[in-house]
């Protein structure tokens, strides 16, 4: 919301220092997002009359313009705007002028034409947001070429605050509301602005009607008749005020409506009385099948259920005396009853509508207006006729014969009464932890229009009608305490760092993640972050048949599906690095992948309106995926990395098992990682499919990429991925003996199984390590020779040669039980 300082000052005397006001606004929660100084930077900007316009050879966007700037000689400038003609008067920034944005005007040459200044738009001069072309001065304005623009326009320097107002401050969505907060902060009185009263004479009911058929959706409907209207432009200061506040002046009637809305927060809607059948406004629900052409020229179907949760399609409309819909209540009027130059009698609606209903209609029709923004938040139901009085006072400035017909129609619907809560003695202090005297709290609240009263058990506080956001009960008390804290100043509140007996800490899963990350970083891996929302094609790379989990409103079609794997994203990232010449990288990501609930049932949650239904949600699995893409990396590197990680995690016995490779994995160089005891799949290790790598890497030398994928859900479950017990073994002080054993082992026997058998064969065995694999030669087809180094020791003695030889026999026998034969 834009709040010009001059307008705020109509309501309250404010300090001269803009910084002080800004600070106060911030501390009141009316956050200043920007400050605009207007009417500054206009030195050396003068009125100029356009004399000649010439094309420039070879340029189709700019023209050479000759203007009279009051000097003996005409001035030549180059200009890119097209919205003016010879004879128009426009602002000329002379060479040496510094415009409000800090832009300094210098003599420049464009396409060989020298430009001695710049003709300006309204925005370039900081006068409004209008940048559709040059600011062409009103022909009725009496100006002289060469005259200072500020003198010509009667501009005074001003400051405009751009405020962000929270949804719980409907009362602050107006100049007066902001001023009221400032008045409390600076402890200064509020002033009032001029209002008119209805005339005496025949009552409005003789000329107009008001019917309220939906009292639950419309809290108040007032209808006024204004006679003696002459539609024309607003006085200059009104137009200027609107522009500073960010609205365009249109006509005196529309401008008066906008001024009142900005100033007091009450939207009003003027109709041409002669165009409203029966001069009657009727508020009712729209019926299915009805349509309305709104002022923006769009024909809208009414009462159509929307997509949003609980949206039944309810629209509140204004209908005329013949029950035809003429406006979408609180949002936008219809084209048919619009004010025109010929309007002489205005039917003015000032009403209160149910915020939730307006909000739903706004969303459903995708139609937001200044009025709806205010109704959505909640307009003070008591404000309607006060606002009309202000409207009349403003319109009367340009319509001297204006008359507000006596006894405007005023129909009341249902509005929740203002909340009343009782703050127990000392409750403010108890909630804030800051000693704030109850009397101080009362004074602050009363400044905002709250009514307070000392009752037996504390202070009874009744909210003003401008604060429908204040609730009842415990929530209402919190609302009131917030108002006290806000007006008292958050900056003055006490601070205390609490302590509690329970220690902080992380879960096993979180610690596991950190260990994995540390171990990876220690092996030269870079941690990546790839997109969660990907294209359907990307999902299909790994999951050709999966049901897709789609986002209904993606930013782009290739970011519309939740990923099912981290592999494509990481391989792409790897390939991008190779393409950029940035390297031979190892990349890893710890991230979540998603499975459609129909493919992976089991996750249910509360949902629907009120949380009353049960919803099936996608299963989320956290994976660690690693792409090993340094030169020389391949499936072996991935296996070695896995062994490092398994060691780091103290995994008891996860083995590498041959298994068919899924998509993107190398069909003959991939395997599963399985916990031997539980049989649960922990992950997968191997290499990327060469047919996937080749197109990614392009014409560079054939390259392998090792792949590792681990399921953290499995890994963090000790029943699935068993850990070594904590008990430590003190090694023997006696020397150990090592023997090497090479077995010709059938293809079906994994090396890990044989090692395991050797380890379990004798109590003397300390450690078994595979050190060589050999195929070919005398070894038969399909088999291979596996050579293990076996270290043995005893706790209480040095092993004798006989004992070692005996153990060797036992180990050989253990190997033979698996079909392995000593080589």
């Amino acid at each position: 919301m834009r709040a010009p300082l001059s307008w705020l000052r109509e309501f309250v005397d404010l300090p001269d220092d803009v910084g002080v006001v800004r600070d106060a606004l911030d501390d009141l929660g009316l956050v200043v997002e920007g400050i605009e100084q207007v009417g500054e930077g206009l030195d050396h900007v003068v009125v100029a009359e356009v004399r000649e316009i010439h094309p420039i050879a070879g340029a189709d966007k700019i023209r050479r313009v000759v203007v009279d700037a009051g000097d003996p000689e005409p001035v030549e400038v180059v200009c890119g705007a097209w919205n003016f003609d010879v004879g128009d008067r426009v602002p000329l920034a002379r060479v040496g002028a510094v415009l409000p944005g800090g832009f300094e005007i210098a003599r420049r040459s464009m396409r060989g034409v020298v430009s001695n200044g710049m003709l300006c738009s309204s925005r370039e001069l900081g006068l409004s947001g209008d940048h559709r072309g040059l600011m062409v001065l009103d022909a009725e304005l009496v100006t002289t070429p060469g005259e200072d623009l500020r003198d010509a326009l009667g501009l005074a320097a001003d400051t405009v605050f751009d405020l962000s107002v929270g949804a719980n401050r409907p009362d602050a969505w107006s100049i007066r509301g902001v001023a009221r907060d400032l008045a409390i902060r600076f402890d200064r009185p509020m002033c009032d602005v001029a209002r008119r009263a209805p005339s005496s004479g025949s009552p409005t009911s003789e000329f107009a009607g008001a019917v309220l058929e939906a009292p639950d959706l419309c809290g108040r409907l007032t209808v006024s008749v204004l006679r003696g209207v002459r539609v024309g432009p607003s006085p200059a200061w009104i137009a200027r005020r609107l522009e500073l506040a960010g609205m365009r002046p249109i006509s005196n009637v529309v401008d008066a409506s906008n001024i009142v809305m900005l100033e007091l927060g009450q939207p009003t809607h003027p109709y041409d009385l002669d165009r409203v059948a029966g001069a009657t406004l009727r508020v009712r629900r729209a019926r299915p099948g009805e349509t309305l052409e709104t002022l923006d020229g769009v024909v809208r179907a009414l009462a159509q259920p929307g997509r949003g949760l609980g949206d039944t399609g309810e629209d509140v409309v204004i209908a005329d005396g013949e029950d035809r819909v003429i406006g979408l209540a609180g949002i936008m009027g219809g084209a048919a009853t619009e004010i025109s130059d010929a309007t002489t009698t205005v039917l003015l609606e000032a009403a209160h509508f149910d915020p939730m209903t307006i909000a739903r209609s706004v969303k459903r029709h995708g139609l937001r207006s200044e009025a709806s923004t205010r109704f959505e938040r909640g307009v003070d139901p008591e404000l309607a006729l006060e606002a009309v009085g202000r409207f009349v006072a403003i319109l009367a400035l340009s319509c001297p014969e204006l008359e507000w017909v006596a006894a405007p129609l005023d129909v009341r619907g249902e509005v929740a009464p203002p909340s009343r809560v009782v703050l127990r003695a000392g409750e403010v202090t108890r909630q804030l932890g800051t000693e704030i005297d109850d009397d101080v709290a009362r004074r602050l609240l009363e400044g905002l229009g709250f009514v307070t009263e000392v009752v037996e058990d504390g202070i009874a506080v009744t909210a003003p009608t401008s604060r429908p956001d204040v609730r009842t009960g415990a929530a209402g008390r919190a609302d009131v305490v917030e108002e006290v804290a806000r007006l008292y100043s958050y900056r003055k509140l006490a601070r205390r760092t609490p302590t509690w007996p329970s220690p902080g800490g992380m879960t096993d899963r979180q610690l596991l993640r950190r260990r994995l990350r540390d171990a990876l970083v220690g092996r030269g891996v870079l941690e990546a972050w790839t997109a969660t929302l990907v294209s359907e094609a990307q999902v299909r790379r790994t999951h050709p048949d999966a049901r897709l989990v789609r986002v209904t409103n993606p930013l782009a079609e290739d970011e519309a599906v939740l990923r099912t794997s981290l592999i494509p994203g990481l391989l792409d990232a790897w390939a991008r690095n190779v393409a950029r010449g940035t390297g031979d990288v190892r990349l890893a990501e710890l991230g979540v992948v998603f499975a459609h609930p129909d493919d992976a049932p089991g996750r249910f949650t509360r949902g629907g309106e009120g949380g009353h239904t049960t919803l099936a949600l996608p299963r989320e699995t956290e994976l660690l995926t690693v792409v090993l893409g340094q030169p020389g990396d391949d499936a072996r590197t991935a296996v070695a990395l896995w062994r490092v990680l398994a060691e780091r995690l103290r995994l008891e016995d996860v083995v590498v098992r041959a298994a068919p490779a899924p998509r993107e994995w190398h069909p003959t160089r991939s395997a599963e990682l399985v916990d031997r005891a539980s049989g649960v799949l922990v992950g997968r290790v191997g290499e990327a499919d060469p047919d996937v790598v080749a197109p990614l890497i392009g014409p560079v030398a054939p390259r392998r990429a090792g792949l590792l994928e681990i399921d953290l859900d499995v890994l963090s479950d000790p029943a699935s991925a068993r850990r070594r017990p904590d008990g430590a073994i003190v090694p023997s002080r006696f020397p150990s003996a090592s023997i090497d054993l090479a077995f010709v082992t059938p293809a079906g026997v994994p090396a890990a199984d044989l090692a395991n058998a050797l380890r379990g064969a004798s109590d003397l065995v300390e450690r078994v390590e595979l050190f060589d694999v050999y195929r070919g030669g005398a070894i038969g087809e399909g088999a291979r020779s596996l050579a293990y180094a076996v270290r043995m020791s005893a706790a209480d003695r040095t092993l004798s040669e006989g004992e070692v030889a005996q153990a060797r026999d036992v180990l050989i026998a253990a190997g033979e039980r698996l079909g392995a034969r000593l080589r």
């Binding site: 929660g29 956050v31 401050r169 997509r307 949003g308 949760l309 939730m356 909000a359 969303k363 909630q431 804030l432 932890g433 009960g473 415990a474 929530a475 609302d479 804290a485 806000r486 958050y490 509140l493 006490a494 601070r495 205390r496 509690w500 329970s502 220690p503 992380m506 879960t507 990876l520 970083v521 030269g524 891996v525 870079l526 972050w529 790839t530 969660t532 929302l533 986002v551 209904t552 991008r576 979540v592 609930p597 949650t605 509360r606 949902g607 009120g610 919803l615 949600l617 340094q630 072996r636 296996v639 070695a640 590498v656 041959a658 190398h666 069909p667 003959t668 160089r669 595979l770 060589d772």
Partner: protein, 356 residues
């Protein structure tokens, strides 16, 4: 049937038979011109049609075209079959029994790795909070509208919904499932669990990835990371909230950092505040980054709204608490003065290698 195409079927069958005998891609490449190309018998037949009258020529041309298509299809099949066989051969030659990998023979170069900037920042923040007595909790990224909004006092069509640009997930009724827009639904899960287990109080922080339908630019990504804190205990006041924020910002950003709270609005807290810290660029003297105020907005916070407590079955007269939240990515951006946040998801090694 007589005429030039009298033996067409036999010719085609002959060609198809030849295709069947081809055993390698090289052979196929070599023989293709003679089977379907310029030197094929079909090309010769084509030339022989010249003498026919126009109608007969059209019919014959169509037959010849169909015959050519059959041969070409057979060649295509053959090429695919041979390519698959070639791939199988190469894969078989490449076969590696991963159970037999001898760790000591796998070459490796010593090289430093680098944790992700977001992950590292998150870990640093977690450490600060753990030291202050917070447990670290987590929750899912796909949530129901109920947990993401309604249980947090944001019913459908609430004007505050506009504060979050929401990605809706195409499951169930429209707009019932969302990509969480903040980590706050985890707060609701934590409170529900604590009520069910009778395990109040709660002192937790919740880091995690969130999503907002914001077109990515230098300052925003559609996916981002947030950490929220939740305390529910007896006798907790706004002073405790302000104190916790001051303590953690000093622990993370440095002891010379001041914090400032200003009123704000969040549907799930009351009173609510935004918290600002001394600008990390100019150290409070005013610069462009902080719009010359000396302060940078870091996050939002507030006392838990009694309506939120009541919705999960916690008596607001007995328990009170606060919540706060801020962006992890934003902390990282501030500390490292990252001009464009999109670098975070590009995974360029030159970017990643700067953090440790």
């Amino acid at each position: 049937m007589t005429g030039p195409l009298e033996n067409l079927d036999a010719v085609v069958n002959g060609l198809l038979g030849e295709v069947d005998t081809i055993a390698s891609i090289e052979e196929l490449d070599a023989r293709e011109p003679a089977l379907a190309g310029r030197r094929s018998p079909l090309a010769a037949l084509q030339k022989s049609l010249g003498g026919l009258d126009p109608d007969a020529r059209r019919d014959a041309g169509a037959r010849l075209q169909a015959a050519r298509a059959r041969v070409e299809a057979a060649i295509g099949d053959c090429r695919r079959r041979l390519a698959a066989a070639e791939r199988d051969r190469l894969l078989e030659a490449d076969r590696l029994d991963l159970g037999d990998v001898v760790t000591s023979t796998v070459p490796d170069t010593l090289r430093a790795g680098h944790p992700g900037l977001v992950a590292r920042t998150q870990a640093e923040l977690e450490d600060v909070f753990v030291a202050m007595g917070f447990r670290v909790a987590e929750g899912p990224e796909v949530e129901s509208d109920w947990y993401n909004f309604e249980a947090l006092n944001i019913p459908p069509a609430h004007p505050a919904r506009g504060m979050w640009d929401t990605f809706y997930v195409d499951l169930g009724e429209p707009e019932t499932v969302v990509l969480r827009t903040h980590t706050s639904p985890t707060q609701v899960h934590l409170m529900e669990t604590a009520v069910r287990d009778g395990s109040l109080p709660i002192h937790s922080v919740m880091p995690g990835r969130c999503y907002r339908r914001d077109t990515p630019d230098a300052r925003h990504l559609a996916a981002f990371h947030q950490v929220e804190g939740l305390v529910v205990d007896r006798g907790i006041t706004f002073a405790d909230l302000a104190g916790v924020i001051e303590t953690f910002t000093r622990a993370y950003f440095g002891t010379d950092v001041e914090t400032r709270l200003r009123p704000s609005y969040f549907p799930f807290t009351e009173p609510s505040a935004e918290f600002e810290i001394t600008c990390q660029i100019c150290h409070g003297t005013g610069c462009r980054t902080c719009s010359h105020t000396g302060w940078i907005e870091l996050g939002g916070c507030g006392m838990l709204d009694p309506a939120v407590l009541e919705a999960v079955g916690i008596d607001p007269d007995e328990w009170s608490g606060f919540a706060f939240g801020f962006g992890i990515d934003r902390c990282a951006q501030m500390r490292h003065e990252i001009a464009d946040m999109r670098a975070l998801t590009e995974n360029d090694a030159r970017f990643l290698e700067q953090f440790s």
